[in-house]
């Protein structure tokens, strides 16, 4: 058990190191973005001196390395910095803390991702296991065809179809998912129904097909034949003999899709006008609001690293070879 704990701690350390490297990549790639925040805010007519003064005020005149370590140091202390927007040429400063901008949006995104995951993961596992159980049956073919169709359709299109059906022709759900901090839980769930459904349709196919493949892959193993010759039924073979050996690949693909729910849903957010973190980042890129962009990118990276780490850990604790060494 201690060996496993040591492995997990090692992975965690590696994850942190990765995050550090990623932060440097984020910072340098954003520095390389074309255009300049000072110029963008002050306009083409601003004189060189005004722009220079403005840059100095924001600290943009310092060398990139110095700025990186200042930023990284602040982030380590939980300070994501101050947004660039809200300032203008006349010297007014109505800028807000980045965390105040990002956190409510992040919460919204995690809420939508959580609701989707609660529907999609059990559904995908159920479909994956049942299609493996009844493989090559009509049911298997139908489920495969249906999920392939949903994954092959662009998500904005799925979203609009769902709006057409469930908001327009048969109005049971709202087409707009505009929520804010004061929205109650029940109301929130009601409003995110369509975006959650859209995302479910988008991610179920991948998880379901990988679950099915991981199980079927194992069905050719000698120990599965042995289980059959010991009189195990089909469902026992799938659930008791194949599934325990298939968790590692299944966890990996689930982690991948959950990460997508956090970092890749900007299109769905836009269609349903849902105030998530994806939209915030796109807006911040447009307005050259560097601290917000950096904060969002860092959160996305952390999400990927954390979810993949979880998948790795599941892979370790479900493998008796690692859990119980010789």
């Amino acid at each position: 058990m201690n060996a496993v704990l040591a492995t997990i701690l090692k992975r965690l350390g590696l994850g942190l190191a990765t995050l550090f490297v990623v932060s440097a990549i984020i910072f340098s790639s954003i520095s390389m973005l074309p255009g300049d925040f000072g110029q963008a805010v002050l306009g083409q007519s601003a004189t060189q001196e005004t722009v220079a003064a403005f840059r100095k005020e924001l600290g943009l005149d310092k060398p990139a390395v110095v700025r990186y370590f200042e930023w990284a140091g602040d982030v380590l202390q939980g300070d994501l910095g101050t947004s660039f927007s809200g300032r203008n040429a006349s010297g007014q400063d109505r800028s807000r803390q980045v965390s105040d901008l990002v956190m409510p949006r992040l919460w919204n995104t995690l809420f939508l991702a959580g609701v989707t995951a609660l529907i999609a993961v059990p559904l995908a596992l159920f479909l994956g296991l049942t299609t493996a159980l009844y493989r090559n049956s009509a049911y298997d073919r139908a489920v495969n065809a249906a999920t392939l169709t949903t994954i092959s359709t662009p998500e904005f299109f799925v979203a609009y179809i769902l709006i057409l059906v469930f908001a327009s022709l048969w109005p049971v759900f709202p087409s707009l998912a505009n929520v804010d901090a004061s929205t109650a839980l029940g109301e929130r769930l009601y409003r995110v129904a369509l975006p959650a459904l859209t995302l479910t349709l988008v991610i179920v196919a991948h998880m379901m097909r990988m679950t099915r493949a991981a199980i079927i892959n194992l069905l050719a193993s000698p120990y599965i034949e042995m289980a059959r010759l010991k009189g195990a039924s089909r469902s026992e073979i799938i659930l008791k003999h194949a599934l325990p050996n298939a968790w590692a690949p299944i966890a990996t693909v689930i982690a991948f899709n959950l990460a997508y729910l956090v970092v890749g849903v900007v299109v769905v957010e836009v269609v349903f006008v849902y105030p998530g973190i994806g939209q915030l980042m796109v807006d911040a890129v447009t307005s050259r609001d560097i601290p917000v962009v950096q904060a969002c990118a860092l959160i996305f990276a952390a999400t990927y690293i954390l979810l993949n780490l979880t998948a790795d850990i599941i892979g370790i604790v479900t493998n008796p070879r690692l859990l119980h060494p010789r």
């Binding site: 000698p222 042995m226 010759l229 010991k230 009189g231 195990a232 003999h241 325990p244 050996n245 008796p320």
Partner: protein, 541 residues
């Protein structure tokens, strides 16, 4: 299951004119061509034949099971009055694991890696409610004890990867025995084991089958093994019965020529020739994989034009020695001296000439060849790489090499997948020969082959040695192979050389303890061999 005493004469299993088709190469082939089989209660039937004879398929058919890609096309299978051909899946499942049990060849692959041994052992009995789960678990411990497993109380709580292959095979026998079946199918249960382990497993299986008066079908390609186990032997070839007779009668007076040919395979024995011109010597070599030291002060010398056989169990360091010689594993200390000069330790430091002079042939011919290359590509490559042959000269030489290994030029365009096991190994021999080496290291080259094919390969190797004065270092765990081919023998145990000497010296007494154990463990074609051996060993197996 029944508690009443059973008479040996009641017929338990009756198979009549069983026909099974298998699907391969895009079409159905008949693999069992109308075989009859009758088994009485408590009787053990040995099913013997080469690979591809259909032994396994027939054994599984006795359970009413055909593996994916096979189908039963005719005949009847009656198990204790139940028609297994007509029985539904659910009906067959009620028999499987309870009244008919199966013991597979590779225990390591046939145990589910995710569950503890005890859970898998009692699974079938518990599922059918033969007795309460707790009783089954207590019974399993008794079975583990009866099968002479170490720490029978706790071994069940281990996972499959935590115990050795021989132990797993015995746990699997316990698993089969747990529901007290009427019939057990043993499908080559000791083929993957070392001879010394095989003796223990065989005696454990035989005792327990006797104790519970269980009927069994014992499938194997090893005659000497089946002679210890079976009351009756049935010989199969190409899916047809060759003959069937009681074991003693079959061993002393086989009727069919084919059966006699199976018997005679082990008779090959090359007269030993002493050699003094040492071509290669391993000098005080220590080697390790990471922190695990596997070779301890190994000294071996190999005379030119002779065969030195290295014998020992798996894990004794035989293959590691080969890896040190080839440079794949540089030793921690010591050196390999070739033609009087030390070889560079690492492969990358050796010259092309040094590489050319030492060639290797592997156990698994399948994996030692690129499946996308034709036989021509495989043999022509060393001709070009070492000898710089091109065009017509190269092609002529490939044909010549094919002739040496007794294949004709029609094989040139074939892919490895289109060859039989013996042909594949011949191609590997041709590839090694192509480099015109001084010494060829043969690592268990015949272990994966049937007896008759083995004999062909060994004869070929001997002929080539005579013609080209090639030296062989022959790694094997099979004493019969050693007798057949070697001049000198090196016995290895736990990474150390126990002894080296001429074949006649090593194979005649007095023996060091380990050599004694190894030699006495090799099954002999005598039905009383195991019984005599066990009574001769004071402390049991």
């Amino acid at each position: 299951m029944s508690t009443e005493p059973v008479s040996k004469d009641r017929i338990l299993l009756e198979m009549r004119d069983v026909r099974i088709d298998g699907f391969s190469d895009e079409r159905w082939h008949q693999i069992i061509k109308g075989v009859n089989l009758t088994l009485r209660r408590g009787e053990i039937l040995g099913l013997i034949g080469e690979s591809g004879a259909g032994k396994s398929t027939l054994g599984k058919a006795a359970m009413g099971y055909t593996q994916p890609g096979c189908k039963l096309t005719g005949g009847s299978i009656l198990f204790d009055g139940i028609d297994l051909v007509k029985a539904s899946d659910a009906e067959k499942r009620r028999l499987w694991g309870t009244r008919i049990a199966y013991v597979a060849q590779s225990a390591a692959a046939s145990f589910n890696p995710a569950h503890r041994l005890i859970d898998q052992t009692v699974e079938a009995a518990t599922r059918r409610g033969i007795r309460p789960d707790a009783e089954s678990r207590a019974d399993a411990v008794q079975l583990f004890r009866a099968l002479q497993l170490p720490k029978p109380e706790t071994i069940g709580s281990r996972y499959p990867h935590q115990v050795s292959g021989g132990q797993l095979q015995r746990v699997m026998t316990a698993m089969a025995m747990s529901p007290r079946p009427d019939l057990i199918i043993f499908d080559e249960p000791t083929t993957a084991l070392d001879v010394t382990t095989q003796v223990e497993v065989l005696s454990a299986m035989r005792n327990i089958v006797e104790e519970f008066n269980t009927a069994a079908i014992y499938i194997t390609h090893d005659l000497a093994v089946v002679a210890q186990m079976a009351d009756t032997i049935k010989v199969l070839r190409y899916g047809e019965e060759v003959e069937e007779a009681p074991t003693r009668q079959m061993l002393t007076e086989p009727k069919q020529a084919y059966t006699r040919s199976l018997w005679s395979v082990r008779a090959l024995e090359k007269p030993e020739v002493k050699g003094d011109d040492i071509i290669l010597s391993i000098d005080h070599v220590d080697a390790a994989y990471g922190p695990f030291k596997v070779l301890h002060d190994v000294n071996i010398s190999i005379p030119r034009g002779r065969t030195v056989a290295v014998v020992g169990e798996s894990g004794s360091g035989k293959s590691t020695t080969a890896r040190v010689i080839t440079g794949l594993l540089p030793p921690l200390s010591g050196s390999v001296i070739f033609n009087g000069e030390p070889l560079p330790a690492a492969l990358k430091d050796r010259s092309k000439d040094q590489l050319q002079r030492i060639q290797m042939i592997y156990q698994m011919a399948d994996t030692a060849m690129n499946p996308r290359q034709t036989v021509f590509d495989i043999i022509a490559r060393p001709l070009e790489f070492y000898l710089g042959l091109k065009g017509k000269a190269r092609e002529d030489r490939v044909v010549e090499l094919l002739k040496m290994i007794e294949l004709d030029e029609s094989f040139m365009d074939r892919l490895p997948s289109e060859l039989s096991g013996g042909q594949k190994q011949r191609i590997c021999i041709a590839r090694a020969l192509a480099a015109e080496p001084d010494i060829i290291i043969c690592d268990e080259v015949t272990s994966a082959l049937d007896q008759i094919v083995q004999e062909g390969i060994l004869k070929l190797l001997l002929r080539l040695q005579k013609e080209f004065n090639i030296t062989y270092l022959f790694i094997t765990h099979d004493i019969a192979t050693v007798k057949a081919i070697s001049d000198e023998i090196v016995v290895m145990f736990q990474g150390k050389v126990v002894e080296q000497g001429l074949k006649s010296e090593i194979l005649s007494p007095p023996f060091p303890d380990y050599t004694q154990l190894l030699l006495s463990s090799v099954p002999e074609m005598d039905p009383d061999w195991l019984t005599n051996l066990l009574s001769a060993r004071p402390d049991g197996p």
